[in-house]
Amino acid sequence: MTCSAVDAQALSRSRRQVFLGLFIAIAVSLHAFESLLPTPVPWLRLGLANIMTLVALYLYDGRAAWSVSLARVGIGALLLGRIFGPGFWLALVGTLFATSAMIIVYRFAGRRLSPIGISAIGAGGHALGQILAARLLVVQHAAIWQVLPFFMLFTLFAGVLTGWLAALLLEELREHPAFTKSERGAY
């Protein structure tokens, strides 16, 4: 093949761009699919799109995770017609909290935490960010904090579930030639 003629760095950069684009597309479709599912309480969702943020974080780095999560919030809201509505701001602040929490903890804990632990932390950050945004933007009353523990309990379950799915996916992807160690390093 002519691969040897291509600059290895440029190749791995464009490969990363292609895969991140794919991850964002999957995340947006998971988000859209999830919004079609019935929920007992509005705004109570599993956050399946977070699987792709976790995969980007584990396969690449924090910047990749930011790209996936922010693009997912923006494109997802655009697609569902919720952009700049009150729900959008809640989702955005929740995602900012979740992604920062996951990246910071991942940087310090490294391999001592599996995607399940990182996802549980992200889910907790998401709940905290959403309630904070709701407190400031929607319900200007301190009583909203009483919802937090109930929200936290549900979100913990959701976080472990999405973390588990991400761990299963990562196991498959790591065996793929595009992500194996020899392929990721210099040619």
Binding site: S114, P115, I116, G117, I121, A143, L148, M152, L156, E171
Partner: protein, 128 residues
């Protein structure tokens, strides 16, 4: 398919356990916080009796139809006997949290649980 615990490290268990205990602790403390401390009884249009919720007692309240019996014990306040035809107030069960209400409309008796220091939580904004 591998189970979640196949992937979970010691750190993961710690994170999950910490989040679980903190949210359960929060739920328990909220439940404890909302426990009322005072029973207010309204007969007709005016307040006719106030009693602390933590002292067990039995009260007989007079209304237009006769006597309604109210019991306060460690479970909370409840109406055990009433002359009203449908006994809805008896079937309303126990009231113990701030804002709980027992009403015997035919006998014009209203039992209302209150917080002690006016720290009553208002849900008006949430239900709007």
């Amino acid at each position: 398919m591998k189970a979640p615990w196949h992937f979970m490290t010691g750190g993961d268990w710690l994170v999950v356990l910490l989040l679980l205990t903190s949210s359960l602790g929060g739920i328990i403390s909220i439940a404890a916080m909302s426990e009322g401390s005072r029973v207010l009884i309204t007969c007709g249009d005016e307040l006719c009796f106030t009693a602390p919720l933590d002292q067990p007692r039995t009260l007989a309240i007079d209304g237009p139809l006769g006597q309604t019996k109210l019991v306060i014990d460690e479970r909370g306040a409840r109406i055990v006997e009433s002359p009203c035809p449908r006994k809805i107030c008896v079937s309303m069960g126990v009231a113990k949290h701030t804002g709980d209400l027992l009403a015997c409309v035919p006998n014009r008796i209203l039992v209302h649980i209150d917080g002690s220091s006016g720290k009553e939580v208002s849900y008006d904004l949430l239900s709007r």
